[in-house]
């Protein structure tokens, strides 16, 4: 089972991602964070296989968190999951260490497909 950390300030989105991943039987959600600082703490403590990362958090920007985690040497797969879908922001996310960038809204099927592809 791949260990997953969900970082998103929306309880609705955390619940949706959690349910979609658990239903596959291939992913175990080991933590959920509603803020960037909490996300960094949990990511460095648990070193999950995958992090789903929102881009606009109450205290931080997701891309900055990805940069920080990569600078710390974290090798987890990171998929950015955000409503912010501008071409330049998606490119910035990818070029700063995110393995994929999924723009909200999306179905559970699309989310799982994109995450499965990261481990294929």
């Amino acid at each position: 089972m791949k260990k997953v950390l969900i970082v998103d300030d929306s309880l609705y989105m955390r619940t949706l991602i959690n349910s979609a991943l658990i239903a596959t039987g291939r992913y175990e959600v080991i933590g959920q964070a509603g803020t960037g600082s909490q996300g960094i703490e949990l990511a460095l403590e648990h070193e999950p296989d995958l992090i789903t990362m929102d881009n606009i958090l109450p205290d931080m920007i997701g891309i900055d968190i990805v940069k920080e985690l990569r600078a710390e040497g974290l090798t987890s797969k990171i998929i950015m999951v955000s409503a912010v879908g501008q071409d330049d922001v998606v490119e910035e996310g990818r070029s700063n260490g995110a393995d994929d960038y999924l723009v909200k809204p999306f179905t559970a099927e699309i989310l799982v497909e994109r995450i499965d592809n990261l481990f294929a």
């Binding site: 929306s10 609705y12 619940t15 606009i56 409503a83 912010v84 501008q86 809204p105």
Partner: protein, 206 residues
């Protein structure tokens, strides 16, 4: 105040319509049905504020507010009546949440905030890509207000933030009773960026 010439008004109408269509697509996702827009008429809607909101008889209006942050200064208001908000919850939330009073207590406002976050971002993404400006939406806020408070909020925003341009649309669904409204307010930066794009397009064609 900067003013748009007829060509620029047409360009603004195209950009705004493009953004609002994306918003309708996002709302369709949550409502599980095709949501369309009231026809966008620039003569009525691309004007100095304030726009008129069609919820005068409502008391528990769900006002969702997202600030536009970055190279454009503005705010958008997604406005649901209590009944419309309940229809959205029923369509967007899975049965395990709808059937759990504890989870509903936690999610009832959360789903509205997330829908607002995604719908406003759909529009902001289009404006950003077309106008080539770096903008994003802030963390959304929810206020439950009556009509007078709603009007007061919009007037307050207009006078405090010097918003000079507004546009409004209503979403339409097969349900007669579902017609949330979507109001956008911008300062002069929006007009200036429309003018800049119009100039670039004109230079490109000459």
């Amino acid at each position: 105040m900067l003013e748009l010439n007829p060509k620029e008004v047409e360009l603004a109408r195209e950009i705004i319509s493009h953004g609002l269509v994306k918003a309708a697509e996002s709302l369709s996702f949550f409502m599980n049905e095709t949501i369309t827009l009231q026809e966008f008429d620039q003569e009525k809607h691309l004007c100095t504020p304030p726009p008129e909101i069609n919820k005068k008889d409502q008391t528990n209006i769900q006002l969702l507010i997202t600030k536009v942050i970055g190279e454009l200064n503005g705010v958008c208001c997604l406005i649901f009546s209590e009944e419309e908000a309940n229809q959205l919850r029923q369509s967007a939330l899975p049965p395990e949440i709808l059937n759990s009073p504890e989870m509903m207590a936690e999610m009832s406002d959360g789903i509205l905030l997330e829908v607002d976050n995604i719908i406003s971002a759909s529009v902001i993404t289009q404006f950003s890509n077309i106008l080539k400006v770096k903008i994003h939406g802030g963390v959304p806020a929810l206020r439950k207000v009556n009509y007078a408070e709603l009007e007061e909020y919009i007037h307050h925003e207009i006078s405090n933030e010097l918003y000079l341009i507004s546009f409004k649309t209503s979403f339409k669904s097969s349900h007669v009773s579902f017609a949330p409204e979507f109001v956008w307010l911008f300062d002069n930066s929006f007009i200036q960026n429309i003018k800049n794009l119009a100039t670039k397009q004109e230079e490109g064609t000459n």
